[in-house]
C-alpha cells in the first residue's frame, strides 16, 4: 500500500518519480563512495587486514601475540642524553639529562615459539618517556637495510616466503618470481646476508632503517637515520652448541647478562645530506656522513612479556615527539597502519593468549630454561 502522500503527490506532480529516483541515486552514490573509500570495492587494495592475512598465511595463527616480531622479552632502563643531538632536534628527549625507557628485544617473524637462531633478524624497540606527554617510540633491527621499500614489496615478500602447504617449505619458484619483480629486494638481501652476526642481543647494533627528519628550534629540518651501537665488546656468533641446548638461548643470554650488570648502547644519529634517499629503506646512505652521539641507552632489567610493561605498547614508528618527524618513506605509514591492526587484534585476544616462550619463571631463574 502506498502512503497517502504518494498518491496525492503523483496526482498533482508528474515529475515525482524522477525526483524520487534522483534522491535514491544521490544516496546510492554517497554510499558507493563510502564503500569505495573503505576498500570494499577493491579486492586488490592492500589493507591492514590483508597484511594480517598474509602474516597468518606465513606463520599460522598465534592468538594474542604480535603478528610480527612475535617472540620477545620486555626490558626497562633509561636514556642519558649527551645533549649533542639538541642542535638538530628540539625534542625534549635530546636535552641533557635522563629519561626512562621501556623496551623490547625480539626476533623477526610471527612465530612466538620459534627456536632462537643466529641468522634470524633481531630487533630492539624503545619507548622514551620524557616528562609530559611527548613520547618517542622506535623499533630497530640488526640488519643494515630493509629488504623492501614499499608496503606492496613487504606483502609480496611475505607471500613469496610463506611455506607451501604441500612441502612445508617456501616455494623456490615464488621466491625467484619475487626477486625478479623486486630487484631492490635482491640487492638489499645480499647486503643483509653479508652482515656481521654477533653472539647475542647485547652486542648487536640495531638500525632504524627508515629515515626520519629532525627539526631544530629554528625550524630547520635534517634527514636522519639512527642506530643503537653496543658498548659491550662485539664477539662473533659461536652459537652452535647453545642453540642445540636451549631454544631460547639468545633471550636467556641477554637476561643473564642484564642480571649480571646493566647493558649499554650508544644512540648514534646519522645526518643525511641532499640526495641521500629518505624514501627507500633498501638503500644505505653513503659512508662518511656526520654522526652524532646522542647519548647512552642503559638496560638494567628484563621481564617476560607475560608480566612486562612492553606488552601493552605498540612500538608504532610514528609515535614521535615534536622535533622528530616522519620522512617521505612509504614504509612508515605501512608499518604504523599494520602495527595498529596487529595491536588491536592482540588486544581483542588478550585473554586467550598462551604463555610466551620466555616465561616469568625463566626470567626469574636468571635466564636458565
Amino acid at each position: 500500500m502506498k502512503p497517502f502522500w504518494f498518491k496525492a503527490a503523483t496526482a498533482t506532480n508528474p515529475g515525482l518519480l524522477v525526483r524520487l529516483g534522483a534522491i535514491g541515486a544521490v544516496l546510492l552514490s554517497v554510499t558507493g563512495a563510502f564503500a569505495y573509500t573503505g576498500g570494499w570495492l577493491s579486492p586488490s587494495r592492500l589493507t591492514p587486514d590483508r597484511m594480517m592475512a598474509a602474516f597468518r598465511d606465513a606463520n599460522g595463527t598465534h592468538v594474542g601475540f604480535r603478528r610480527n616480531h612475535a617472540k620477545g622479552v620486555c626490558v626497562t632502563g633509561w636514556f642519558e642524553s649527551s645533549g649533542q643531538a639538541a642542535a638538530v632536534s628540539k625534542a625534549a628527549v635530546f636535552r641533557p639529562g635522563r629519561v626512562p625507557v621501556i623496551g623490547r628485544f625480539a626476533l623477526a617473524g610471527g612465530m612466538p615459539l620459534q627456536p632462537d637462531a643466529p641468522n634470524t633478524v633481531r630487533s630492539m624497540a624503545l619507548s622514551f618517556r620524557p616528562p609530559g606527554d611527548e613520547e618517542w617510540r622506535t623499533g630497530m633491527n640488526n640488519i643494515p637495510v630493509f629488504p623492501v621499500n614499499s608496503a606492496r614489496g613487504f606483502y609480496d615478500q611475505l607471500l613469496a616466503f610463506s611455506p607451501d602447504p604441500a612441502t612445508g617449505k617456501p616455494d623456490p619458484a615464488k621466491i625467484k618470481a619475487f626477486m625478479a619483480a623486486h630487484p631492490e629486494a635482491a640487492r638489499a638481501l645480499t647486503r643483509i646476508k653479508k652482515r656481521e652476526v654477533t653472539s647475542g642481543f647485547a652486542n648487536s647494533t640495531f638500525n632504524s632503517l627508515n629515515a626520519f627528519r629532525f627539526v631544530d628550534v629554528a625550524g630547520g629540518s635534517t634527514p636522519v637515520r639512527w642506530s643503537v651501537v653496543p658498548v659491550q665488546p662485539v664477539t662473533a656468533d659461536a652459537s652452535e652448541q647453545s642453540e642445540a641446548e636451549d631454544k631460547n638461548y639468545l633471550f636467556d643470554d641477554l637476561i643473564a647478562q642484564i642480571a649480571q650488570h646493566p647493558r649499554q648502547w650508544r644512540l648514534i644519529v646519522t645526518l643525511g645530506q641532499a640526495g641521500d634517499p629518505t624514501n627507500d629503506a633498501t638503500q644505505p646512505w653513503p659512508e662518511g656522513r656526520q654522526r652524532i652521539d646522542a647519548g647512552t641507552v642503559t638496560i638494567d632489567r628484563a621481564s617476560s612479556e607475560d608480566s612486562g610493561r612492553c606488552t601493552a605498547i605498540n612500538y608504532d614508528p610514528l609515535v614521535l615527539p615534536a622535533g622528530i618527524e616522519p620522512s617521505d618513506d612509504p614504509l612508515l605509514s605501512a608499518r604504523s597502519a599494520s602495527y595498529a591492526r596487529s595491536f588491536t587484534l592482540r588486544a581483542e585476544e588478550e585473554h586467550e593468549k598462551l604463555p610466551s616462550a620466555v616465561t616469568p619463571e625463566e626470567v626469574q631463574a636468571g635466564g636458565k630454561s
Partner: protein, 200 residues
C-alpha cells in the same frame, strides 16, 4: 498553511560548519582503517584534531539548541515521520558527541599520544588497558557505521522535504536569503504570507 520558520542563523552556521567536517571525518576514518599507503599518516594526523574540533563544536551546538530551539515541523508532517525526525536528530547528536569521546578514550586506553598539532597533545582520559582499548576500538567502528547510516537517513529526509514535500523544512536549514523562502513556490499561501511580512 503558514511559512516554515528558519533555524536561527547561529544554528545554520553550526550545521553547515560541522556537516563537511563530519562527512570528511567519516571518509577519512574509513580510508584510514583500510590503508597502508602514505596517506595513512596524513589522515591520522588530520583525524585526531578534526575529531576534537567536532567535539568542541558539538558541545557548542547542544548549548545553542537550548538557546535557539529548532523550529517546529509543519503540521502537514505525519506523526510517524515526526517521530523519525526527532529520533534521528537525537541519534545524530548522540553520535556526534560520542564518536570523538570514544576516539579519545580509545587512544588513551592504548596509550597512543593524542596529538593535535606539533607539541600540542591532549592528556589521556582513560587508563592504559588493552581490553578496554579493544572494546572501545570496536565501538568506534560500530558507531561510525551508525553515524554514516544516520547521516544517510538525515540527508535522504532533507532531500525528500526539499524535492518532494516542498514544505519549507529543507529551506529552514538551507536558506540564507533575506526574508522569503526558496521552497515556497509550490505553496502560494506561504508566498503571500512571506511577502506580507518582509524582514526590515
Amino acid at each position: 498553511m503558514t511559512t516554515q520558520p528558519r533555524f536561527a542563523a547561529v544554528s545554520r552556521l553550526l550545521h553547515w560548519l560541522m556537516a563537511p567536517m563530519i562527512i570528511a571525518m567519516l571518509f577519512i576514518g574509513v580510508d584510514m582503517a583500510a590503508s597502508v599507503s602514505r596517506r595513512y599518516d596524513l589522515f591520522v594526523s588530520i583525524h585526531r584534531p578534526l575529531g576534537i574540533a567536532i567535539l568542541v563544536l558539538c558541545i557548542a551546538r547542544i548549548v545553542n539548541r537550548f538557546i535557539n530551539p529548532p523550529p517546529d515541523l509543519p503540521d502537514t508532517v505525519p506523526p510517524l515521520q515526526r517521530f523519525a525526525a526527532k529520533a534521528s536528530h537525537i541519534a545524530l547528536y548522540a553520535l556526534m558527541l560520542m564518536m570523538p569521546l570514544v576516539g579519545w578514550g580509545m587512544l588513551s586506553a592504548a596509550r597512543y599520544p593524542i596529538v593535535l598539532y606539533g607539541p600540542v597533545r591532549l592528556p589521556p582520559i582513560l587508563p592504559h588497558d588493552l581490553t578496554l582499548y579493544a572494546w572501545l576500538r570496536e565501538l568506534h567502528t560500530v558507531l561510525a557505521y551508525l553515524l554514516f547510516a544516520t547521516f544517510l537517513v538525515h540527508f535522504g529526509a532533507a532531500l525528500y522535504h526539499g524535492l518532494i514535500r516542498r514544505d519549507g523544512v529543507f529551506g529552514s536549514m538551507t536558506s540564507w536569503a533575506q526574508g522569503s523562502m526558496h521552497f515556497a513556490r509550490t505553496n502560494p499561501a506561504s508566498i503571500q504570507n512571506s511577502t506580507q511580512t518582509p524582514e526590515p
